[in-house]
Point group: C2
Chain length 155, copies 2
């Protein structure tokens, strides 16, 4: 029983380290890809919830929200490999060094984003545009919370 548990734990560690071995430049590229594709989907939600509510489309809202939740659930934390605090993926990373040292702060923003992104998918499924708009705002706040703390300004 105990060896089974140890084996399971080891399996998790190995699986985790399998993609933690990504080269820093690949890890940076993958996380930039994830955030950029998520931004496209946030943009679609903004379009139909904020800019042009007449264009609201339940199926597209669900699709966008599911993509955002799936990205939040994808384990992107594994892409912050040692050595990836500096470097070029698709472009130069804007991550602050603090993301690699402030475990408590990172945990807070990660948990908040994950929680609100999954709630976004749940609310989208109801088709309630007003509720979705409110939840979209909450997700946006968690994005901003992380950017303010752990992302350098564009220059």
């Amino acid at each position: 029983m105990k060896s089974k548990l140890v084996a399971a734990l080891l399996a998790t560690v190995v699986a985790g380290s399998a993609f933690a071995q990504a080269k820093p430049e690949d890890a940076i590229k993958f996380r930039q890809a994830g955030y950029t594709f998520m931004a496209w989907n946030m943009g679609k939600l903004k379009g139909m919830l904020v800019d042009n509510p007449a264009s609201f489309n339940k199926e597209q809202a669900i699709a966008a929200a599911n993509l955002i939740a799936a990205t939040a659930n994808s384990g992107m934390g594994a892409l912050y490999v040692p050595g990836s605090d500096k470097g070029v993926g698709f472009k130069e990373t804007r991550v602050k060094h603090e993301l690699f040292t402030d475990k408590e702060g990172v945990g807070k923003v990660a948990v908040a984003f994950n929680k609100e992104a999954n709630e976004l998918a749940k609310v989208a499924a109801t088709g309630d545009a007003a509720a979705l708009k409110a939840q979209f705002g909450k997700v946006g706040e968690t994005c901003k919370g992380c950017h303010d703390k752990f992302r350098k300004d564009e220059h």
Copy 2:
């Protein structure tokens, strides 16, 4: 049944015209981001299903499969805007001009990818690694089917 699916996909593309107004360079960037982040998730599945089966982890498999299905369902067709057959997003696009003219061929690969990606998420949820490995292979074939037909070789 198949024509129903094609109609649904076409409806998505048409409805997607609201965000089809993206500038070609942005559209190229967003689709490159989507494919790249999906590639990271395919890579994770490959790691735990093909390269190192001992590292199989149900939760991570579900997360990766859900991301792939959500990407397939996100309406990326809308990112193939007029003028985006050439240009630079994160890098120069490798799309072939045929993707913009061969509607029937594009419909076929899009429907196949969508079907197999959604099946991937369903199979992942069962936790059956052998079945997931088989389904992972089917998804890979639909990726390759599109690449062979509509993507230029890297040079």
